[in-house]
Amino acid sequence: MTDIVIVGAGASGGAAAWRLARAGFKVTCLEQGGWVAPDATPSLHPEWEIARQTTHHPNPNVRAAPQDYPVDDSEAAIKPFLYNAVGGSTILWGAHFPRFRPSDFRTKTLDGVGDDWPICYEDLAPYYAENDRMMGVSGLSGDPGNPHREARQMPPVPPGKAGVRMAQAFDRLGWHWWPADVAINTMPYGEGRGACNNCGPCDLGCPHGARSATDVSYWPQAIAAGVNLITGARVFEIETDAQGRATGVAWYDRNGVVQRTRAPVVALASNGLGTARLMLLSTSKRFPNGLANDTDLVGRRLMHHPTGMVTGRFTEAMDGWAGPFAVSILSQQFYETNPSHDFVRGYQMQLIRSDGPVGTAVGGYLPRVPWGEGHHARFREVFGHTASLTVTTEDLPRLENRVTLSDHLTDSDDIPAPKITYSLDENTKRMIAHGIDSATHAFTEAGAADITAQSLVADAGFHLLGTACMGSDPDASVTDANSRAHAVPNLLILDGAVFTTAAALNPTSTIQALALRAADALVRDRAEMQVAS
């Protein structure tokens, strides 16, 4: 029998599987998607931008691939953005790789909002470093916005013309900025992974393996260490005994046949949406409201990173279609709470390059190029001439933002789909408004010819956090500091569901560091763990 079954082979599942297998555990990982071949990337084909609108769209409701499950987002201000495959959503991410700041773990103590994490930055620091080594990070030491840490594996990605322009503007304004930490190779790094060739659409995959994703970083090493990875395995229930201890999982194979994998320890790594769905599906006499849901917190406290967007158009060509689209430089000038603001906590501004011809015309960073007589004139004005600053805000946890089970949508195996109920609070709206003013000021300083703002990017549900939160108090949280469910001692939650608060930056490096830490705790504590007999 396997020692542990992990559900999900994405950012956290890959990291934990590798760590546990290296420690001698027999690991089985079940993934509903399959492998994505490096040479299957649409960016090798002339129709690459059509794929972004169809088969590789980040919203599973639009993409509608066989391995996807639908998401009821009828009451969600922010739409889901995820992928189901070995590698999970790192298959289509931009590989932005910042760490949390120390204050992100102490929002209650410092600012009286949210909750403190049961761990601190220092607890995670060695795991951040280990994870950086595994994923491969390009970046630069010396950022005054973050604690000092070790050198990255590779030098930073060049910022591009717009990045240089905006950095100079930030300098004149006296604002913080720094080259972004990114999980993209600027030189060959890792097993068989080459260097970035500046192509642009990282989200469509990287045939050189330069953009890191767990299918090219953790998984080859995890499999070499003995992990049994089963693809096309759609888990629909975590099974338990009469005492509520996990006994394994039930899943559909590709032929729709029910299979069961028994294991003394079960770990969920299906992101904050899929994990909450699975826990809510797993009802029993002991847990009538869903697994480990005595507190009614499973699915609640859903956090994203509500994102505003400001785009500057320059009269000179910026050639922003070249270079990793999501990464250049960032500013954390307004990251921390400031009493002069009309909101608590803060936001990050991250410079985004521009888009290809279809993306420019269809719109995203800018409104759609209008159809009709002026179409080509507007296209000429904007194509390759823009850059954007995202305003990435800290989303404080609220019980009413939640994942439940849809009462009418199911996936192809007839499993109820998740439903997202989500709205923005006034603090977030004020934060976005401040961020839009700040980004507009920066573009003005940089000499942009005109500036356009979006108060909320709807297609930005890429960070799914908080739906099985970590905490010290079993009555006010779902897992303990080691990501183990308070109510189910042999259940681990490894993905972003455990986030106590969300910070105001991309979470993947923190998700993976937490997964590595949880794996180490399991190795240490396994002998004392209560498991099903």
Partner: protein, 137 residues
């Protein structure tokens, strides 16, 4: 139906019109875009080819207003197929330098990062907020 598409994407001195690249056939034959295209066509007056250009614009605007999701799907399809057409890609390359080939496997030159550019921010004092637990790690 070229009248509809040419109203949306007319040609000019450099860019071909929608009909100039055969956009009608491309939309009709596309597995995801054919349905919204057909649905928009069904909403148009039967005599759309005979009405004035101004009336064509009015007719399309009405559909865009009354059926925004449907019109959005058509616009995404029309723009996607237009801007991936080789003739159009060649025009864009000539005008901007954006190559008409796919992004991979060639990519674009990757310059070397110049550390001198961080001289100003590197000289700033730490401005993250300390917490009791944090040490340099």
């Amino acid at each position: 139906m070229n009248a509809l598409l040419d109203t949306m994407i007319p040609g000019d001195e450099e860019f071909p019109s929608a009909s100039g690249i055969g956009l009608h056939d491309a939309l009709t034959g596309h597995d995801r875009f054919a349905a919204p295209y057909a649905a928009v066509l069904a909403e148009l007056p039967e005599i759309v080819n005979e009405i004035s250009q101004a009336d064509k614009v009015t007719a399309l605007t009405e559909i865009e207003t009354q059926h925004p999701a449907l019109f959005n799907a058509l616009t995404v399809g029309a723009y996607s197929l237009y801007y991936t057409n080789p003739q159009v890609a060649a025009v864009i390359e000539r005008l901007t330098g954006h190559t008409a080939r796919p992004p991979q496997p060639t990519g674009h030159p990757l310059e070397t990062f110049d550390p001198a550019m961080v001289a100003v921010p590197a000289a700033r004092a730490p401005h993250y907020r300390p917490t009791p637990e944090v040490e340099d790690v």
